[in-house]
């Protein structure tokens, strides 16, 4: 007797977006009744792969087999009809609708084709919630009133309201407390016992050990290992698979000797409830300190709180020994802080405006006499700042939106250069910057530090932090779990730390 064919076979899946090949010939096969874990660093292609599986993205190449037949997943509805349900990390529930309405959204039980049978919907929802171990959730309540964990249960009930054979869960435990995680695992166990397959994405290796059957590791858009035994593969091997790189980054040389001088920035016991635990930090002129951690570890929150964009619940930030007014961006900017935020387009750039105006926006008072702008001085200063960073094209009159990602980032850096800032906070400075342009950006950041700037760098790319920073703080779930000079760490060690927290 031949072995049972896989429920799902994806082979040679390729998907490109402008400028990036997100998936490059990925193979994945999932058996009925198994928990198949997907592992990979940020940007390895996990999200793209599950979106292809959910019918939200169409692959450029490759085939998808479902129960022995080749299928095309034209739309999320097509995937759902086959029995593939996806629970995304950002829950896609309508907060203004009730639990039952959310569960049955798009396939409401109806009478005469259009009259929604509310009672029937609530009854079937109650049954689903009971099966998920949460009979206390009232199907008539508004989803917006529920906790994050309860919303996740509703999401799961929605998946189960279809005749589901495969459930994709994207970091389902990220928002849950430990006992809620136990309940989640019990549900996963029940589902697989019924023959439903689960594709489980998580950064936490210990979870994968607990519930996973097999593991597929993605790296740079390729499946570097498929179907490894989840419980017995050594952590070292898994981490090695995730980190082995094809692309070699070129990092500038570090200055000889440790940075001297008084710290320009001191962070003392800074904390935000629910985001990160009290944190201490000192930054000297000429020093680059890196914050390493996974998405959700509180990295960006730390930066934005130092910058005053979020109000801390405890602690303070001092510049040159003077405490900053807490929760005030203006105070931070005046004291010499500058932020290059993670979402460049949403948080930093005025997309309709020219490079000049984007660069000068934080220094306008310097070019004004009684509110009157000296536009010649403005444009001259902006040109000088962008030239210093070799921003291309060498014309600050062009609209900023026509620039490449790396040059847009340079425009943001030029803004703070022009302002004369002394502490630069960089949040994922190379996100959306293509590989070739990164080395140049690294060189620029190192040069600014050599000229006396203090730099705090956040990145989810561990090699970037290790290559660029002098000192590294490793964050895990809002806590600093390790601090060390960058040259004493390697990528495996940092990944061990961010994932397992064993120091």
């Amino acid at each position: 007797m031949a072995p049972e064919p896989p429920l799902l076979t994806m082979s040679g899946i390729t998907k490109s977006f402008p400028g990036v090949r997100a998936l490059d010939g990925v193979d994945l096969d999932v058996l009925a009744g198994e928990v198949h874990c997907l592992l990979g660093q940020n940007g390895a292609g996990k999200s793209t792969l599950i979106k292809v599986l959910a019918g939200a993205h169409q692959p450029d190449d490759g085939t998808i087999g479902w129960r022995g037949e080749t299928v095309t997943l034209r739309s999320p509805i097509a995937a759902m009809r086959l029995g593939i349900a996806t629970i995304y990390q950002e829950l896609d529930l309508v907060e203004g609708l009730s639990v039952a309405e959310n569960v049955h959204l798009g396939h409401e039980p109806t009478a005469a084709g259009f009259v929604v049978r509310g009672k029937a919907a609530r009854a079937s929802t109650a049954a689903l919630l009971k099966r998920l171990g949460h009979p206390e959730i009232d199907p008539a309540r508004l989803v917006g009133e529920l906790s994050a964990a309860q919303q996740q249960i509703v999401s799961m009930a929605r998946a189960l309201s279809h005749d589901v054979r495969l459930i994709v869960m994207d970091e389902p435990s990220a928002a849950l407390d430990p006992d809620e995680v136990d309940n989640l695992f019990r549900i996963v166990g029940d589902l697989t016992a019924d023959g439903v397959a689960v594709v489980y994405i998580s950064h936490r290796l210990e979870e994968i050990r607990r519930i996973g059957d097999r593991v597929t590791v993605l790296k740079d858009g390729r499946a570097v290992a498929g179907g490894l035994p989840a419980k017995t593969t050594p952590t070292r091997d898994v981490v090695a698979l995730m980190t082995g790189r094809n692309v070699e980054y070129v990092f500038p040389d570090r200055p000889v000797g440790p940075p001297s001088g008084e710290p320009v920035l001191k962070v003392q016991g800074l904390a935000r409830d629910g985001e990160f635990a009290p944190l201490d930090l000192e930054l000297r002129p000429g020093e680059i300190v890196g914050l390493a951690g996974l998405v959700g570890s509180g990295r960006s929150e730390v930066l934005e709180t130092i910058y005053g964009a979020r109000k801390p619940t405890a602690g303070q930030v001092l510049v040159d020994g003077q405490p900053l007014k807490s929760g005030s961006v203006r105070a931070a900017v005046r004291a010499g802080l500058g932020l290059a935020p993670e979402e460049r387009k949403a948080q930093a750039l005025l997309m309709l405006e020219s490079v000049t105006r984007n660069v000068s926006v934080s220094s306008m008072s310097r070019f004004s006499r009684g509110g009157w702008l000296d536009r010649r001085a403005e444009s001259g200063a902006a040109r000088a700042a962008t030239r210093e960073l070799s921003l291309r094209p060498d014309n600050p009159d062009v609209p900023v939106r026509t620039l490449s990602g790396g040059n847009q980032q340079k425009a943001v850096l030029a803004r703070w250069l022009l302002r004369g800032c002394r502490v630069l906070l960089l949040d994922e400075p190379t996100r959306g910057v293509d590989v070739g342009a990164r080395a140049e950006l690294y060189a620029v950041i190192r040069r600014l530090a050599d000229e006396g700037l203090a730099v705090l760098l956040v990145s989810s790319e561990v090699p970037e932090v290790l290559g660029l920073a002098d000192r590294v703080l490793v964050l895990r779930e809002g806590r600093v779990v390790h601090t060390a000079p960058a040259r004493e760490l390697d990528e495996h060690r940092v990944l061990d730390l961010v994932m397992e927290g064993t120091s």
Partner: protein, 340 residues
């Protein structure tokens, strides 16, 4: 710039040869000109239509003075509105503020203080209403639509309460004189001069000052403006104050024009001002504003009204035509945005 933020094109400009350096700047200015030119074209066509249908009456100096005078009141309101919309906000209360300012400035008690009393009251009431709007929106975190809608209702109600529905006749000679032909300067009515001055100041402030730059930054990306160190809330407060100030000035012009104050003054000014700003090229979503375009928008609407009135067409037909023009203008703008 007519184009909305486009998706990232990583490689496109990186290798742009330096020879193209001035080309994009040229298209940028050229495109701004295209919009202004097309508005001027529409105005020219309207003048042509007016001249053909009613050659004697339309092109008469008195009629042209009338058109410009009528444009002045709504025009001053539109300048303030342009600032608010450029910042990503909206002010629905302008008509009601004009009404309230005009009746408060024409009560028997106020008129005892003469010319200065009327002018001062009109401006202060306008600024006061703008202050309330601004505080609610900037520091009370209210949505501009709701805050100014509430102001619309309250200001109209208060105006009705003050007048009890009666028209308040102005008896102050100095005010009435400004509406007379004797006070025209080189054939230009004083009201039109005020409109011109407000327009020029508005243009300078929007295009040449840090205040204007901050307004555009807040409208283009409020979060980015905040993280760049701009005091977004204070800027918002100032903007609604500015809109209120413009309403106060407009109320004073209306008092001169009608020789009275009425609680029905400024009816639907909010719609006219928004429409004029939008067809002029100011983005309703904020981040781009043009005073020149707004003024041309006002002139287009006023000219249409005049031509229709001269041809004895009813106001219902006017309304339909206005609606059609708004739709056509926005569609044309969208088209140019896509093709460039």
């Amino acid at each position: 710039m007519t184009q909305p933020a486009s998706p990232p094109r990583p490689d496109e400009t990186r290798k742009e040869p330096p020879a193209d350096r001035t080309a994009s700047w040229r298209t940028l200015t050229a495109r701004a000109d295209v919009r202004t030119l097309s508005l001027l074209g529409v105005l020219a066509v309207l003048i042509l239509i007016g001249g053909i249908t009613k050659p004697d009456e339309f092109l008469d100096t008195r009629n042209l003075q009338l058109v410009l005078t009528q444009a002045s009141v709504i025009g001053v309101v539109t300048v303030g509105m342009t600032f608010v919309i450029t910042s990503g906000g909206i002010d629905l209360s302008v008509g009601a503020i004009v009404a309230l300012a005009s009746v408060w400035a024409t009560t028997v008690a106020t008129q005892e203080y003469g010319f200065a009393g009327i002018l001062f009251t009109a401006v202060i009431v306008g600024v006061g209403c703008g202050l309330v709007n601004g505080l609610l929106i900037a520091y009370g975190a209210m949505v501009p639509f709701i805050a100014t809608l509430a102001m619309l209702a309250s200001a109209r109600g208060l105006a009705l309460q003050i007048t009890d529905g009666q028209t308040q006749i102005v008896t102050v000679e100095g005010v009435l004189d400004l509406g007379e032909r004797d006070s025209y300067i080189l054939g230009v009515p004083p009201l039109v001069l005020v409109f011109a001055v407000v327009t020029v100041i508005g243009w300078l402030v929007l295009n040449r000052t840090t205040f204007g730059r901050r307004t555009v930054a807040v409208g283009g990306n409020a979060e980015a403006a905040r993280l760049a160190g701009i005091d977004v809330r204070r800027q918002r407060l100032y903007l609604y104050l500015l809109s209120g100030l413009c309403c106060g000035i407009a109320a004073f012009l209306l008092i001169i024009l009608s020789g009275s104050g009425q609680n029905t003054n400024g009816n639907l000014y909010e719609l006219d001002a928004i429409a004029a700003a939008i067809i002029g090229g100011t983005l309703l979503s904020g981040g781009r504003g043009t005073i020149t375009g707004s003024v041309l928008g006002v002139l287009i609407f006023t000219t249409i009204t005049n031509i229709f009135a001269l041809n004895n067409l009813q106001s219902d037909v006017q309304q339909i035509a206005k609606g059609a023009i708004i739709v056509a203008a926005v569609l044309v703008q969208r088209r140019t945005a896509h093709t460039t």
